[in-house]
């Protein structure tokens, strides 16, 4: 049997990245909302809602990066130097934020410092991720087998826009997660933020969707040429459907629907990006097949992935199930 291993792996890496965005997105979002909590009790409740799961969520980022290295070494070796600054900033921000989960409970007098580290780390990491995405979408200069662009290429109006867009997106994910997990004042605050973020998110999806085709002719052909348009049309239609669900859920004070609808928006936007990218992994310079490592490397890792990813998913679901329900106000113990 002759499988297209490169294509299968492109799908798997794409899955790891969207899993990361959907999962770590909401705990980063909780971090972004952290400064808006009124008091210590509320902050405790917010942090406790993600404390048992954030570590697993962030592991998808390692799988995305590590997977790219393993099966698309050429893409990895081009993208990483091109994104040196945003990735470096993101990593440091994630370090700040990761340690605050622990340090915050251990600190007596300087707890506020770790509150800020958690919030600041979440905000900066998110913005850097958004900028990295924008940089990739607008294209990377490649010569031979290496990055040949400049040091500041990652800084552009478009990447600043995608940075803001992701910030808003994660706020929406975080606030709808809190609607689901929190009660009382925190939940009320989450509803307020979710309503604003939902509107802004749709605006951002609109702007980015219209701007992206203007960046490359390749993207334009994908979305606005007949009959290709017919195949991609379901994406915007479904986006509108999810948006309607989201607004209805927020209006009727439903607890789970807004979170699910937001995840839907993220997945659809991501699918839209995937359609734009295909068949390139580095837009308009390196295709999936050119970047892929030799078939036997891909095959070797695929055997493990087919076996291990379902297991990973099942114990991830198990872990979420163990910590199901409202997070509660255990914070009383800490104040």
């Amino acid at each position: 049997m002759n499988l297209d291993y490169a294509l299968i792996w492109a799908g798997l890496i794409a899955f790891a990245v969207i899993a990361y965005v959907c999962l770590d997105g909401f705990d980063l979002g909780v971090g972004i909302l952290f400064p808006f909590a009124q008091n210590e009790t509320q902050r405790d409740e917010m942090m406790n809602s993600v404390a048992p799961v954030w570590d697993g969520n962030e592991t998808w980022l390692v799988l995305g990066g590590g997977g790219l290295f393993a099966v698309f070494p050429l893409a990895y070796s081009i993208i990483m130097p091109a994104m040196y600054a945003p990735f470096f900033i993101m990593l440091l921000a994630l370090v700040f934020r990761g340690v605050s989960f622990e340090f915050r409970w251990k600190s007596h007098r300087r707890k506020y410092l770790w509150d800020w580290a958690f919030a600041g780390g979440s905000i900066v990491a998110t913005f850097a991720q958004g900028m990295a995405l924008g940089t990739l979408v607008q294209g990377i200069q490649v010569t031979g087998r290496a990055y040949s662009g400049g040091w500041w290429d990652w800084l552009s109006p478009f990447s600043l826009l995608t940075g803001c867009a992701l910030l808003i997106g994660y706020i929406l994910l975080g606030s709808t997660w809190l609607i689901y997990k929190a009660e009382g004042a925190v939940q009320a605050m989450a509803y307020r933020f979710a309503r604003i973020a939902a509107v802004l998110m749709l605006v951002m999806i609109g702007i980015v969707s219209l701007w992206t085709p203007l960046l490359h002719e390749h993207f334009m052909v994908k979305w606005f040429a007949w009959p290709a348009m017919l195949f991609v049309a379901p994406v915007p239609v479904l986006v509108l459907l999810c948006a309607a669900l989201l607004f209805k859920g927020l209006k009727n004070q439903q607890e789970l629907t807004p979170f699910i609808a937001t995840q839907g928006l993220f997945v659809l936007s991501y699918i839209g990006l995937g359609i734009s990218f295909y068949p390139y992994i580095v837009p308009s310079s390196v295709t999936i097949w050119a970047a892929a490592g030799p078939d036997n490397s891909l095959k070797f890792l695929l055997v493990g992935a087919v076996f291990l990813i379902p297991i990973i998913l099942s114990y991830t679901i198990y872990s979420y199930w163990v910590f199901r329900g409202k997070v509660g106000k255990t914070s009383a113990y800490h104040s």
Binding site: F69, Y76, Y84, F88, L91, N296
Partner: protein
């Protein structure tokens, strides 16, 4: 200042970030196993002392593990940002191994960590024990895969090349189980266990010494004292058993290195000249320019005896290779002596503990407790020295004899690398300094049995990392 080009700055940065990183896994690999043993013993015997100890070390594990995770994520991206040519060429070989590490180890650890830290009351003692086992298994599997990667870079096997100059795999089993993996794996896992044993022993010794000041404890104090004695005893058993095993493992690893990386051995031994009946050089100052050792203190013939297990075995000297292919001898030479010196001290402390145990005085030996207290960080120093030996000894190559370090670097400006290096130094020292401070503060409190009893009754809501009783005790001063 010429030395500080982009490539050497990238080397400095990698050395700095990986050195910081390895401290945490070498502790958490051992500690995860220790926690699994404690949890299992509690399940099996029903004795509360094991649960008390489990809850005590669990909090310390949480901090160390967290710092290991975040400093590890940095590593997985650094290959690409600073070593992109290396990543492109070697990716098809070592990339899948790291992919297996992520899928079989990182997810396992992260997936069960939440249950292990917060979930005991939610899932019951048996599933909780299972979760602890999974975390321990994850750390061990992670060690296996990453050491397989490192070993392949030291002793590459089972590979070929493709037409764009990438390494490709001919035989996966040869790649994974390359010639130095078994030795390196055993040596490193034992090192992690020793490191943990000396940390646990040090904390135990500290509280044994403190409890001498209070000869008539209340019921609480008695329970706490029992926990302290238990952890000290367990740690000293580990030291006494593992330290000699580690010496044997190290010797076998050395012989393997002699076979595959003779230059590294020449640097370790400090030999420039090829000699038979080689002496063991205890001390000397290497002079790279003149290619000779100055101020040598040596024991005749012992060098040949150790490395070749015969009296007149020949050891190749560094002069056999051109200077451009030599690893920097001084660093390797001294780091090796640091590692072995600490190993000897560890062995001595292990034997001392056996003697005291035989005499029935293990818990009544302040001098030995003081020694154990000061040796708390010794494992970390030994691990760092060991890694310096093996990594610097591989220079000037990333893949031994096949790809030079200079060829591996990214096309990045020196300024960018220097800037990020500076930021890493500032951030790591600040954050991990704070982490170590919090760990030390946790260690300064004795294990308290109440804390584990009460935390059982707490509602199962994810309660943060600090069980309520402990926190109340902390906060009692500022209600």
């Amino acid at each position: 200042m010429e030395w500080f080009d982009a490539h050497n700055l990238a080397r400095l940065q990698f050395a700095f970030t990986v050195s910081f990183h390895i401290i945490f896994p070498s502790f958490s690999i051992g500690l995860a196993s220790f926690l699994a043993v404690l949890n299992g013993l509690h399940l099996y015997t029903g004795k509360t002392v094991y649960l008390t100890l489990f809850n005590y070390w669990k909090k310390i594990f949480a901090i160390a593990f967290g710092m290991g995770v975040v400093s590890g994520i940095v590593m997985s991206y650094e290959f690409g940002t600073n070593w992109s040519v290396f990543a492109d060429k070697v990716g098809p070989v070592i990339g899948p191994l790291m992919g297996y590490e992520v899928m079989s180890a990182f997810f396992l650890e992260a997936g069960f960590l939440g249950v292990m830290l917060f979930g005991r009351e939610r899932v019951g003692p048996k599933l909780h024990f299972f979760a602890t086992l999974m975390v321990a298994a994850g750390t061990a599997m992670s060690a296996f895969w990453i050491l397989s990667v490192n070993s392949w870079m030291q002793t590459p096997a089972g590979f070929g090349y493709n037409d764009v100059g990438q390494f490709i795999v001919k035989d996966w089993l040869e790649v994974i189980f390359n010639p130095s993996l078994p030795y390196r794996l055993v040596h490193m896992v034992l090192a992690a266990y020793l490191t943990t044993a000396f940390v646990v022993g040090s904390v135990g010794a500290y509280h044994l010494l403190k409890q001498r000041l209070n000869p008539n404890p209340d019921a609480q104090g008695k329970l706490s004292a029992e926990a302290v004695r238990t952890m000290f005893s367990m740690a000293m058993w580990m030291a006494a058993i593992v330290a000699p095993l580690q010496m044997m493992a190290g010797d076998a690893h050395g012989l393997n290195t002699l076979k595959y990386q003779p230059r590294k051995i020449a640097a370790i031994e400090g030999h420039y000249e090829t000699v038979s009946r080689a002496p063991l050089i205890l001390f000397g100052i290497p002079d790279t320019k003149e290619q000779k050792m100055n101020y040598v203190v040596e024991i005749p013939v012992l060098g040949s005896l150790i490395l070749t297990h015969t009296l007149d075995g020949t050891i190749q000297g560094m002069k056999e290779w051109p200077i451009a292919e030599q690893p920097p001898m001084g660093i390797v030479f001294f780091a090796f002596r640091g590692m072995v010196g600490i190993g000897m001290l560890m062995l001595c402390l292990g034997l001392w503990s056996l003697w005291l145990r035989y005499k029935g005085k293990l818990y009544d030996a302040p001098l030995m407790h003081r020694a154990a207290l000061y040796m708390g960080p010794s494992g970390f120093v030994a691990v760092l020295c060991g890694w310096v030996v093996t990594e610097v000894g591989r220079q000037p190559y990333t893949v031994y004899n096949l790809l030079t370090t200079a060829q591996s670097a990214s096309p990045i400006d020196a300024a960018a690398v220097a800037g990020s290096l500076l930021a890493f130094i500032v951030v790591y020292f600040t954050l991990f300094g704070a982490g170590v401070f919090y760990i030390l503060r946790l260690m300064s409190h004795p294990p308290s049995p109440i804390q584990s009893e009460l935390s059982r009754d707490t509602p199962l809501r994810a309660a943060g990392f600090v069980p309520p009783a402990f926190h109340d005790e902390q906060m009692g001063k500022q209600p």
